[in-house]
Symmetry: C2
Subunit: 514 residues, 2 copies
């Protein structure tokens, strides 16, 4: 595919598009005290009280602790002023500071971590301040709504003031929700917009707390919300160039690009490699920028070529294996991915066809169309059961939402067939349900594509409205309404509470109104 | 005494004398592994092995630890390079870093701290590095010979290289010992000079690990070594101006001045207030700078005026109380300080007399002489027992080295009387011995003043040579040959292993040779 030099050129273009970072201050505005309450999401209510009064009238000695909250989940650097009321301050101040998006992260700061991801993602710092008084600005970036301070060792007593986050991001303002929406939907829109804004930094990140990376799967969803909100096509273009500039040796795009200390490839998920085509096509269509389409069309086509090894007689046959070839699709190890991946491939070929048409490359368009039709025919023949009205996946003929969703989005099923398939799995308790908000987004897309906008909206209001009712002001990476303590990482503190792939409600809510 | 404006002028003079800080690199040069050995000072031997080989061939995962050592105890910032051998590095690296002057500090990094001083003096950091590879320079300054790294949570494995201290101080080079000295004494001189150098920063600090402060008691001793070594009279003058610029409201000098975040008074020890006179007089005599003598003579005299309330009929009667009037003298709560303080006062008046003579202020000289003689006469009458040949202190007529020492240094006892007094307490098991190296210095001064240079040298070789034999390459704040685990703070890790008041051996060793 592209040579190292060509990739360097893409990285230069990405660098030229580096968005200016806004900075603004978000002051902590309440003292909070956790109160156990089994009726509350994740078992704790954060009781608020007057912060200014508390800080004005309290000095803290070694062993003391307190917690504060911000008016909204905020991404940025922590800053505060620490003084010595008696003025003596003859030793350093050692503080532990724990920042959390959700209450559990700060309440259980002392609990040992035994989760599966590296515990260093938990936002905690131990800092030493040599000289008081001082105004401290911590160098790292956090995503948080709650901040806990523990005095490990302070000279005599200390006093806090000006506790604040110096917020940062490509966009500062939250766009107001469309007035035509119901108050409930306005609220969901607001949370969705905040989720997007909090993920917009020097690239579109998957989550500002963890993993802070450009992921193709998240990027496509962010691009959809971006189109109906901030319209920062410059940052989308930067992301596409970053992807094009950090290819694997075999020319495959990285499903996850790390920006720092220099742009580099994280890992590959082959379904994301195929989603790249749709992301590129939509970007060209929405931004009107065909140049980048011309530059990266061949790269997108090449991704499909690379996946050909996973097919036998035009049927997807490869099985996901995190140690060799990984196909994400959803956060569900039990999910048989065959039908979904067949669908995603067709979806990608159709996107490439559209892009080829836009670029005036009619031969390519025909070829992509041919591929899509061929895979589509095999899919109908091998995976679709017209009698049952559903798509099955794998040798065990597994029934899942994912299979129906991707066959709908790929256009393998007609809207009427799709509607029936979705309705069937909805009624089937055995059908594997979407596990992640990422899959849930595609479920909404599928309902919409099948024409049942009302049911789509009902699901949206139930799912995202559920998070809002449970206290979300940004949408969560993980949401299982009946399993508040579920974590794919075996520790709920590791879950990200502001995650790109959960933030697409505004795309559906604003589509009709813009 | 001096008005706020006048004090500001002194602080400006201090600022103008701010010494340029040198920076140089000291590389860690060995991997060390602690081995318990009851024959070794503080129970542990640090076994060395090849560091380059170890770091080249080792990757570290979460939970791993290792320790390194430096060629000498060094003051500065820690720096190192951390890389990700596999290049993935998808999460932050959380490291605990513990820096120690002596092995116990790093070996027992996990042991809870229950000492009396604020535990935040223990040199430990938990740092989070977001992006690998990176070269890290920690912002704070440490004093250390040993560095321990604990991987709390790292992505996959990490590799270390370039572990080093970016050393800092007003002087870089260690002055070579006089060649006339025996190898043992050369070694002691070397350690003494390193102790001084490691305490020379933007002021003469009492200890670079803890408390990092300008203390009058330490300053006088440092000035004595400085005179026979680096001759940085500019920094001594800066220290004197800092003291003159940070007076208590009643005009008393601070026994301890903190430089940061702005020069300010720490606390008062009235014996140190009196020692100020001697420090000033000696500085003028040694540096030839009479201007500062003229500027600060009245301040030094005023210090003596302030102490008058502690006398009744020219006999010191006040008792030390850390919560009101504190007289340090030595690290020994049992010590009756009456005779010592009477002696220190006379010592100070005699210094003021000399300074007045130098400045041509004969009236003042006469007055100071008169004071000294008056207090001296009372001392001989009330505290000295000519028959026993010793000085007693307090209502219980306590016998201590301190009382003899200060009466010798004050000239209350003649050299012959002093010799007898010192010899008597030396033979008396009940006599309270010097507890700190600070008092030990004055013991050496006293022997010298009484003319027994040979015995002084014998004591010096035994005491400082003992530390060297026990592994010291800088002299320790606390040294009780028979109590390796003694700490005035109830935790040996809190002891400073490089302390100004322990560094005067070179003063005695170099006096005759320069």
């Amino acid at each position: 595919m592209f040579s190292a030099n060509e990739q360097q050129e893409f990285l230069k273009k990405a660098q030229a598009l580096l968005p200016e970072q806004q900075r603004w201050t978000v002051n902590a505005d309440a003292r909070v005290t956790p109160v156990e309450d089994k009726n509350i999401w994740q078992d704790y209510r954060m009781e608020k009280s007057d912060l200014a009064e508390f800080l004005d009238n309290t000095v803290f000695a070694s062993g003391d602790s307190f917690m504060v909250s911000l008016p909204e989940t905020t991404v940025g650097q922590l800053a505060f002023t620490l003084t010595s009321p008696c003025g003596y301050a003859d030793s350093p101040s050692r503080l532990r500071i724990t920042l959390g998006e959700l209450p559990q992260e700060v309440i259980f700061a002392d609990k040992p971590y035994h989760g599966t991801l590296n515990g260093s993602w938990l936002q905690t710092e131990i800092i030493n301040l040599d000289d008081l008084p001082c105004d401290v600005v911590l160098p790292r970036r956090y995503s948080c709504k709650y901040i806990r301070f523990d005095m490990i060792g302070v000279p005599q007593t200390v006093r806090f003031s000006n506790i604040r986050i110096i917020a940062t991001g490509s966009e500062k303002e939250l766009l107001p929700p469309p007035q035509e929406l119901s108050p409930e939907l306005q609220c969901i829109d607001n949370v969705s917009v905040r989720t997007l804004r909090n993920c917009m930094h020097t690239c579109f990140e998957d989550g500002p707390k963890r993993d802070r990376r450009l992921r193709i799967g998240d990027l496509r969803l962010q691009a959809m919300v971006n189109k109906v909100t901030y319209r920062r096509f410059d940052i989308i273009a930067r992301c596409l160039y970053l992807i094009a500039g950090t290819l694997k040796k075999d020319g495959e795009v990285c499903s996850c690009v790390m920006e720092r200390p220099y742009p580099r490839c994280g890992c590959v998920a082959h379904d994301y490699s195929m989603i790249f085509a749709a992301t590129l096509e939509e970007h060209c269509r929405w931004s009107g920028d065909l140049t980048i389409g011309r530059e990266l069309f061949d790269l997108a086509v090449y991704q499909m070529k690379l996946q050909e090894r996973f097919f036998a007689n035009d049927l997807w046959v490869a099985v996901s294996d995190p140690y060799s070839d990984w196909f994400f699709v959803d956060h569900d190890l039990d999910l048989d991915r065959q039908a979904s991946l067949q669908g995603i491939a067709i979806f990608a070929y159709r996107a490439l066809e559209k892009l080829a048409v836009m670029l005036g490359r009619s031969d390519d368009a025909a070829q992509m169309r041919y591929k899509a039709l061929k895979l589509s025919a095999v899919a109908r023949e091998k995976l679709y059961d017209p009698k049952a009205g559903v798509v099955y996946s794998g040798p065990e003929r597994q029934l899942s939402f994912a299979s129906q969703i991707w066959m709908v989005l790929a256009g393998v099923l007609s809207p009427a067939e799709g509607l029936k398939a979705l309705q069937t799995v909805e009624k089937s308790p055995k059908a594997l349900r979407p596990s992640s908000p990422y899959m849930f987004h595609y479920l909404l897309e599928a309902w919409q594509k099948c024409g049942d906008e009302a049911h789509m909206l009902e699901l949206l209001e139930d799912y995202y409205g559920g998070m809002v009712k449970n206290g979300a002001d940004t949408f969560w990476e993980v949401y299982r309404p009946d399993e508040p303590m579920f974590s794919p990482y075996h520790d709920v503190r590791m879950n990200s509470a502001c995650h790109a792939w959960s933030g697409t409600a505004s795309y559906f809510l604003r589509k009709g109104y813009l």
